[in-house]
């Protein structure tokens, strides 16, 4: 390390980090997701229904068996959210960034409510976290395309993860960060 060049080096590094971004998607931090979300729910996908609305658009309603509400006021046994797209008859409508749900899977979903009161995932697939339990530990972990896996826009996280210093994201850590951001 050449001490005299320290400032140049750090500036170059920070500049390069700021360039990293998805061509179409930019990662939202968990804090940003939690801040934008009007509700955050944890539950199991119980059913899905594909429908056509009055304008002809295809959309999908996902029913979650609610385990816990991490933000907002949803209560009751079943929570319904909707997202654009789906498969109806011989037609499919889907963008690469649409969230995908599977019956029986456990998820945490960040949602906002539209003017009709329907719950919509924040940031498309960014607002959906899959909950999984590795056989080895049995501990509940979470992930989506930008968290719980490698991510790039957070310089410190990139560094930590590249060095193996960051742990995969646990459900309990996700909950802690959501609650802290929601305060």
């Amino acid at each position: 390390m050449k001490a005299g060049n320290f400032i140049t080096i750090i500036c170059a590094w920070l500049a390069s980090l700021s360039l990293g971004q998805a061509a179409t998607q930019l990662p939202l931090t968990i804090e940003t997701l939690a801040g934008k979300a009007e509700a955050v729910v944890h539950g199991k996908v119980k059913g899905m229904t594909c429908k056509r609305d009055a304008t002809g658009r295809i959309f999908t309603e996902v029913q979650l068996k609610l385990t816990e509400t991490l933000k907002g006021k949803p209560n009751g046994e079943v929570f319904r959210l909707v997202h654009g797209g789906g498969i109806l008859g011989g037609k499919r409508s889907r963008s690469v960034a649409d969230p995908k749900f599977k019956i029986g899977e456990e998820v945490v979903v960040f949602v906002v409510f539209n003017s009709r009161g329907e719950a919509i995932p924040v940031g498309m697939n960014q607002g959906r976290f899959e909950v999984f339990r590795p056989v080895a530990s049995g501990e509940a972990m979470v992930r989506n395309p930008f968290h719980g896996l490698a991510k790039r826009n957070d310089g410190r996280a990139v560094f930590k993860r590249a060095l193996g210093q960051a742990q995969p994201l646990t459900l309990s850590e996700l909950k802690r960060r959501i609650r802290r951001a929601a305060k």
């Binding site: 390390m1 050449k2 060049n5 140049t8 080096i9 170059a12 590094w13 390069s16 980090l17 360039l19 990293g20 971004q21 998805a22 061509a23 179409t24 998607q25 930019l26 990662p27 939202l28 934008k36 304008t55 002809g56 658009r57 295809i58 959309f59 909707v82 997202h83 654009g84 797209g85 011989g90 037609k91 499919r92 409508s93 889907r94 963008s95 690469v96 960034a97 995908k100 906002v112 003017s115 009709r116 329907e118 919509i120 924040v122 940031g123 498309m124 697939n125 960014q126 607002g127 395309p145 896996l149 490698a150 990139v158 560094f159 993860r161 590249a162 060095l163 193996g164 210093q165 960051a166």
Partner: protein, 588 residues
């Protein structure tokens, strides 16, 4: 020299990488528009059945108040670049501009492209009848399609709430989002493509803000367009490579298959299907060096290319195998060459998860996660790679291909704590073939690749594949890849094509600006009368003559002459003594 530029551009300037992944259904049918035989169930406002063009409608308000027209033109430029891919039937046409307030709707028989600019209470950015929230996206394309993966219609939205946009290609300082590059990527999805495994490809899952190496369509995506929309009449000019990647007898899902040309430039690549099968097609006849490698190392905490960077369907791709050795493959026209690969389980002892882009400054240590460009300077530069696992001695860092010479290799452990850095001095010859190449580190029997993360640039671009330098077209036309700007067009009607006006440095939109024709000398001797004028190579000229400048009519002398140099001689053998008047006409 400038006159020689145009023909050379066609051969040498476009990026040479090809890499594409199609979105197929369970029957193997790729997502695409049916332009060869329009589906009667697809509305004619979506695909024009007469012109067989995809109709697009832009919202007239663009993103900004004062530069909306430039923003719309950037989108048009992106569409035009796809349309310019040689040998395809891909075609766009524009319908009427739409009033502000457009929304995503996959059932309205209208392909719309717009910026969403309204924010809901709480900051949500809602589209698609308020059922899709796009605050984490720059832009999103929404295709609607049948089971057979025929696209019925598609809409594209740019996020004008959370992100800033600009349109000037020459603005190398802006870190806003370059409309043309993002639109180019989105049009890739619009016509059916998924993300590419190569760093420098337009369809790579991420890019840098501003004008970066991802601006401009690569031959990578050109091959994809040819694959989906190639003209039947030209299909027998190409060949194909087909095969399977296996490990212990089982197909390997998600392996990167690379075909490089003799110079080490990536000509085409793809990612294997769940069965391990792959196809590389269409590919020009020739010899290729092929190899297979994993998307990333199973040991990497921060891989540069992940399985989900290709698509969500690629989650779970096999990465725990060693790169294959290279194999030479010969492709012949209208034929498929088989090339199977067997790979071994396990991983290299090291991997790469960041790069040190090319620099001449020994004491500047940039750490980047994006592909970088390197110029053909013929002088020493430095490139490097980082990761916690890289060897600290005896390893080699190399770029694929020729035209490169290497100097000293250095190993640093303290530049960024926890990262090992390998740097090598490299000289890229001035005649090195431009294109996209890979980096690799090797030590003993271990080798780790970073596919397509370096682009050797030539300094000029031809992203619309017409042989005319883009910078000149951008200077003279609002849509640099439009029909009016193309090499063969003559928008000012002065008889000179854009290619000719470009070669002569004229204004293609001013009929009074054209290559000046002046007879430089007239020589009379026993062979006749010889005249000489400045000419444009390839241009045709007709010589005329008459005896009385005031009365007689001009008569053609001989057949049209095609110029082969910057000057042309023509001898009128029939005239040696009488006074004659000559004129030279440049033919359209």
């Amino acid at each position: 020299m400038k006159r020689l530029l145009a023909p050379l551009l066609a051969l040498g300037l476009a990026k040479a990488a090809m890499a594409f992944v199609l979105f197929k259904n369970e029957n193997g049918e790729p997502l695409r528009w049916r332009l060869d035989e329009p589906d009667p169930l697809v509305h004619p406002n979506v695909v024009n059945r007469e012109t067989r063009a995809i109709r697009i409608h832009l919202a007239k308000d663009g993103w900004s108040d004062d530069k909306a027209e430039s923003e719309l033109n950037s989108i048009r430029s992106a569409a035009a670049q796809w349309q310019a891919v040689p040998g395809t039937i891909l075609k766009f046409e524009e319908g009427e501009l739409l009033e502000p307030g457009v929304d995503i709707n996959g059932e309205d028989n209208q392909n719309v492209i717009f910026w969403v600019k309204e924010v809901a209470p709480g900051g949500a950015v809602l589209v698609n009848n308020e059922r899709t929230e796009i605050s984490g996206a720059l832009a999103v394309t929404f295709p609607t399609y049948f089971d057979d993966h025929t696209i019925v219609e598609a809409d594209m939205v740019f996020n004008g709430v959370n992100h800033r946009w600009f349109t000037d290609y020459s603005n190398t300082f802006s870190k806003d989002n370059f409309v043309e590059a993002v639109a180019l990527h989105e049009f890739g999805h619009f016509i059916g493509l998924q993300h590419s495994p190569l760093g420098a490809a337009t369809m790579f899952s991420r890019t840098a803000a501003g004008v970066s190496v991802s601006a401009g369509l690569t031959l990578d995506e050109a091959a994809a367009a040819q694959s989906l929309y190639g003209r039947d009449s030209e299909s027998d000019l190409f060949g194909a490579i087909s095969g399977k990647v296996t490990m212990s007898g089982k197909g390997v899902f998600g392996a990167v298959v690379i075909a490089e040309d003799e110079h080490g430039n990536i000509v085409q690549s793809t990612v294997t299907e769940p069965s391990g099968d792959y196809d590389i097609a269409p590919i020009p006849p020739g010899k290729y060096r092929m190899r297979v490698s994993p998307l990333h190392s199973p040991d990497a905490n921060q891989p540069l290319v992940r399985d989900i960077d290709i698509s969500i369907e690629h989650q779970g791709a096999e990465v725990n195998f060693r790169p294959s050795d290279a194999t030479d493959v010969t492709v012949t026209a209208d034929d498929t060459t088989d090339a199977d690969f067997s790979v071994r389980k396990g991983s290299s002892a090291f991997y790469i998860n960041a790069v040190r882009p090319a620099t001449t400054k020994e004491n500047v240590y940039e750490l980047a996660f994006e592909p970088f460009a390197i110029e053909r300077t013929g002088a020493k530069q430095l490139i490097g790679v980082y990761s916690p696992s890289l060897p600290t001695n005896s390893a080699k860092l190399r770029m694929t291909g020729d035209g490169l010479t290497y100097g000293k290799t250095t190993y640093d452990q303290g530049v960024f704590v926890g990262f090992n850095l390998i740097t090598v001095e490299i000289t890229v010859a001035k005649n090195a073939k431009p294109g996209v190449r890979s980096l690799f580190v090797e030590k003993g029997n271990d080798r780790s690749y970073l596919n397509g993360f370096v682009e050797i640039t030539s300094g000029t671009n031809d992203y619309d594949f017409d042989g005319v330098e883009d910078a000149w077209q951008r200077e003279h036309f609002p849509i640099f890849a439009s029909a009016a700007s193309r090499a063969e067009a003559d928008p000012d009607g002065d008889g000179y094509t854009n290619s000719e006006e470009h070669a002569a440095g004229n204004n293609p939109n001013d009929e009074s600006s054209f290559p000046q024709l002046e007879i430089n000398s007239i020589t009379v001797n026993e062979n006749g009368t010889t005249i000489q004028w400045d000419s444009l190579p390839g241009k045709r000229y007709q010589v005329w003559s008459k005896k009385d400048v005031a009365k007689a009519t001009w008569k053609k002398v001989g057949e049209p002459q095609t110029a082969y140099r910057a000057f042309t001689f023509f001898t009128d053998p029939g005239e040696r003594e009488e006074i004659q008047f000559y004129r030279v006409q440049a033919l359209p």
